[in-house]
């Protein structure tokens, strides 16, 4: 059948028409081979715009369509659907990008118009060779994997599980809860973090639809949306989790004391321990690196085992549940899931990198997270804010933007620090009403529901606000009154003077940064990352939780720094997206994939190792390669590599691409 092409040039308001002379491009399109009709319109993606296409297909009997407008990323599906509605196979459509690749990047109107013509010509030449293709559907596995058991992962897992679908919740640490479980109060409402989080943590532990994989890591992922296969390493706890009752007796018996991670190293734990007072699962774990018995085993010695045996003399029996298993090994399990929600969170910036702030060198310079533990009733001081020597501080400086908004470290604003710094100030005013509290800030960023009001409240509570970024913290004092104090150097930019603040305690409000394993996880899940290292979402405004890998979603602080309300909202959004797919029950597979001509295939197997998606297998009986249509992403690597020219990339055939090039040059 002779091609009969309709060409539609979009003005995109003034986005394209401001630079490109759309009527000239339309005029030019009419002169191209096989073009039956060419029109320009203000907004092709609008209903009237789409109707233009539909009516032309019906009335003029078009069998090919070209739209010259924006990037295909957003509106290719729109126009493909319009073609389909009018009875035309969606693959008989082609898009020319004259916005991102033309009008937005050029200033010279004449040259831009010429370029737009070339791009339209390319599309017209190409579309003439397009073939109709049929998409296929595959079943959607209703199970979901949530990676990360912080508040984001917990929220997403509960929402999906509550609708009756199975969720695997993967957590690297021995307990879920993440950073939020370490916090004292939450801004601006000052609810206790544990009070609002622990009920959710417990629900996770009790929910029959959630399989909690604590102390486990994702090792490998294969498959595609609807049909992923994940390999997970369940790290050895050296505890039989079924038998362990979480009574905690083993910890009392253990002779090895170590810094407690949950208290940022400010408190102590044993080598066999339960990670926090509200751990879920509430099971013990052995720190194999520091356990005397396990270290002894490596040298062939059988020592200690007090947790198992007990101390008879003191009348303290060992583990009565017989839950301790020193021979436990890491275990690899395989699960099948349809969708994945990534909620791996953040890590706190290490302020020791900024030498002049004294962290790690000077006593009583603490990070925000350390302060959370100091002021937390379950923390090492029982909620009393104390200096290293056990006394109460009389003056405290809170330094904003440590590692954030700093070209040497992170350029971005971490968004939550202003607010948690205000929260710290409030807690300090409450607990130590006699103490002076200073906030050293660059700008106060209090955007959020009730946030500005909280800032105003703190001003009335008598907190000293100094606009200026602290340059240095030193113990070098000048006068007898300053002796023993920490001196904070700051330029007060409101009064335009340098100030030296003598204080007892310095709190560094550190940046939120990507976790060190972000890159590794990105590789396993084939996710992209932004310049700042966080995971890249599909679209910053219109698709903020999806990613470029279908079926994989990113939520919470692993996508960018954000507060608890935003994190929870994103987690719920991703859960809703997953539930929508589960209720559909099936997913459409792209038809633009590789196809092997068995007649031409010589069976050299070159394509097998090259395929990044493991989509090609070898048929030993026929001695030819085979493409798994569900796994193939249509990347074209095998097409280019095949020495016999036996592999064709559907929708990207050599002829189509050559025609496109000729079109540009015509």
């Amino acid at each position: 059948m002779e091609p009969k092409i309709g060409v539609y040039i979009c003005h995109c308001g003034s986005n394209i028409a401001g630079i490109v002379d759309c009527s000239k491009v339309t005029e030019f399109a009419r002169s191209l081979p096989n073009v039956a009709v060419a029109r320009d319109y203000k907004y092709m993606c609008s209903d009237p715009g789409q109707n233009l296409i539909k009516e032309d297909i019906k009335k003029l009997g078009l069998n090919r369509v070209v739209v010259a407008s924006c990037s295909p990323r957003m509106h290719e599906p729109t126009f493909r659907r319009a073609c389909q509605d009018a009875g035309l196979n969606q693959y008989l459509f082609e898009m020319a990008n004259i916005r991102e690749q033309c009008s937005w990047v050029h200033l010279d109107k004449d040259m831009a118009t010429e370029k737009a013509k070339a791009l339209v010509s390319a599309a017209v030449h190409r579309v003439a060779l397009h073939e109709p293709l049929e998409t296929k559907e595959v079943a959607m596995n209703p199970c979901t994997l949530v990676i990360g058991g912080g508040v984001a992962g917990i929220q997403a897992a509960l929402e999906i599980a509550d609708s009756g679908h199975k969720v695997y919740l993967l957590e690297k640490e021995p307990s879920i809860g993440g950073h939020m479980a370490m916090f004292d109060k939450t801004f601006p409402t000052l609810d206790c973090a544990a009070c609002i989080l622990t009920p959710k943590m417990t629900s996770v532990g009790q929910n029959r639809n959630i399989e909690l994989l604590a102390y486990s890591e994702l090792v490998e992922l294969s498959g595609y949306i609807g049909n992923f296969k994940a390999k997970i390493r369940k790290k050895a706890r050296y505890i039989n989790a079924v038998k362990c009752t979480g009574c905690g007796r083993c910890s009392e018996l253990c002779p090895t004391s170590l810094p407690n991670e949950f208290d940022c190293g400010l408190g102590q734990r044993k080598a066999i321990y339960i990670s926090s007072p509200y751990a879920v699962p509430n099971k013990a774990i052995i720190d194999a690196k520091n356990c005397r018995h396990i270290k002894g085993l490596a040298d062939g010695k059988d020592i200690c085992r007090l947790c198992q045996k007990g101390i008879e003399k003191k009348g303290m029996p060992g583990c009565e549940a017989d839950a301790i298993d020193f021979n436990q090994k890491d275990e690899i399990i395989e699960i099948e899931i349809g969708n994945i929600i990534v909620a791996t969170g953040f890590q706190q910036f290490d302020p020791a990198k900024i030498y002049q702030l004294g962290y790690g060198r000077l006593n009583n310079v603490v990070t925000g997270l350390e302060f959370e533990r100091l002021t937390n009733a379950s923390g090492p001081t029982g909620g009393k804010v104390l200096l290293k020597d056990g006394s109460e501080p009389k003056s405290i400086a809170i330094l904003h933007c440590i590692g954030s908004r700093d070209t040497n470290y992170h350029k971005y604003c971490s968004r939550v620090c202003c607010m948690y710094s205000l929260k710290f100030a409030h807690l300090l005013r409450e607990k130590l009403p006699e103490a002076s509290v200073y906030q050293l800030y660059i700008d106060m960023r209090c955007a959020g529901s009730g946030y500005e009001e909280f800032y105003e409240r703190l001003q009335e509570e008598g907190v000293n606000f100094i606009r200026g970024k602290a340059g240095e913290v030193t113990d070098l004092t000048e006068t007898p009154e300053e002796k023993g104090k920490l001196m904070v150097m700051v330029e007060d930019t409101l009064v335009r003077r340098k100030r030296r603040l003598p204080v007892d305690m310095v709190i560094l409000s550190c940046a939120l940064e990507p976790r060190p394993d972000t890159e590794q996880l990105a590789r396993i899940l084939t996710l992209s990352r932004k310049a700042d290292g966080f995971f890249l979402e599909k679209h910053p405004k219109l698709d903020p939780v999806a990613t470029t890998t279908d079926g994989v979603y990113v939520v919470g602080c692993c996508q960018s720094p954000k507060d608890i309300p935003d994190t929870v909202a994103q987690a719920s959004a991703a859960a809703a997206r997953v539930l929508a797919l589960i209720s559909m029950g099936k997913v459409e597979i792209e038809a633009a994939i590789a196809f092997i001509d068995e007649e031409k295939c010589s069976g050299c197997k070159i394509c097998l190792d090259l395929c990044p998606y493991k989509a090609i297998s070898f048929d030993e009986a026929k001695k030819v390669s085979r493409v798994n249509e569900a796994l193939c992403k249509g990347c074209g690597t095998c097409v280019a590599a095949c020495p016999s020219g036996a592999i064709k990339g559907r929708h990207f055939t050599t002829e189509e691409i050559m025609a496109e090039i000729e079109g540009v040059l015509a």
Binding site: Q356, R361, L476
Partner: protein
Amino acid sequence: MTHYPYYPGCGLSPEGFGRAFDWSIKGVNKVLGLDFKEIPDWNCCGTVPYDTLHEEASFAICARNLALAEKMGGDLVAPCSSCYVFLSRTNQYLAQYSKVKKSVDEALAAGGLEYHGKVKVRKVLDVYVHDVGFDAIASKVKKNLAGLKVACYYGCQEVRPIFGRDHPENPKYMDKLVKALGADAVNFPFKSACCGGSLIISEEDASLELIKKLLDSAVSNGAEVMVTGCPLCQLNVDAYQSMVNRKYKTDYHLPVLFFTQLMGVAFGLDEKELGLKTSIVPAKKALAKFI
């Protein structure tokens, strides 16, 4: 023997206030087997004042030194921190800004010179640390300086993040060098703070305050001697110590030496060769055990 074009600058010339730096470098080089060859007919680096008056010309005069060094081959060694920064900055501007390069090329051509940007500008400490190494230096020690407590003062120029190779806020090379000699490098948080530089002339009060802080920090951490690699730092902390004492009613007698002088002592070189007596606060008491 490795050769380096050597740019003493005014501070290390025979009449300069940092001449002991020059003497001790030469002494130490003999032990380490390095050859610093003075660039023939070198000229002033321009330092702070010229740059603020006539930027283009200041690049041209620095480029002349670079061009002369390029003819000799090898990395240029500039012991003075000010020379080091202005020569490095010229190098950077010539590489980055074609407009600067064009006018500088014209100026050089008028003097029959040309510069192709091949010269690397380095500090003495950098050469000792990277080209010789701590182990080789330790192997030359004849008198172990065990027990001597040293404050290593880097100053602000040597560690500029664009050119320097050490951490700009917490540099460690000199500390490690001093340890290789057997001495203790004391904790000295002000190691890269400013001595006031040439502001001692126009803003005496401000500079004295800065110098006092350096002395406070070094002495309170137990230092018996301060070493530096910058002639201006040495001059300020040494020569103005008595003024600090008068103004702030303190009683500091902290000898301020060039780190090469301390190396010379450890290598067993002659006291005169090292110019230990050119400084104002006497070092004799602190070094009595070793000389």
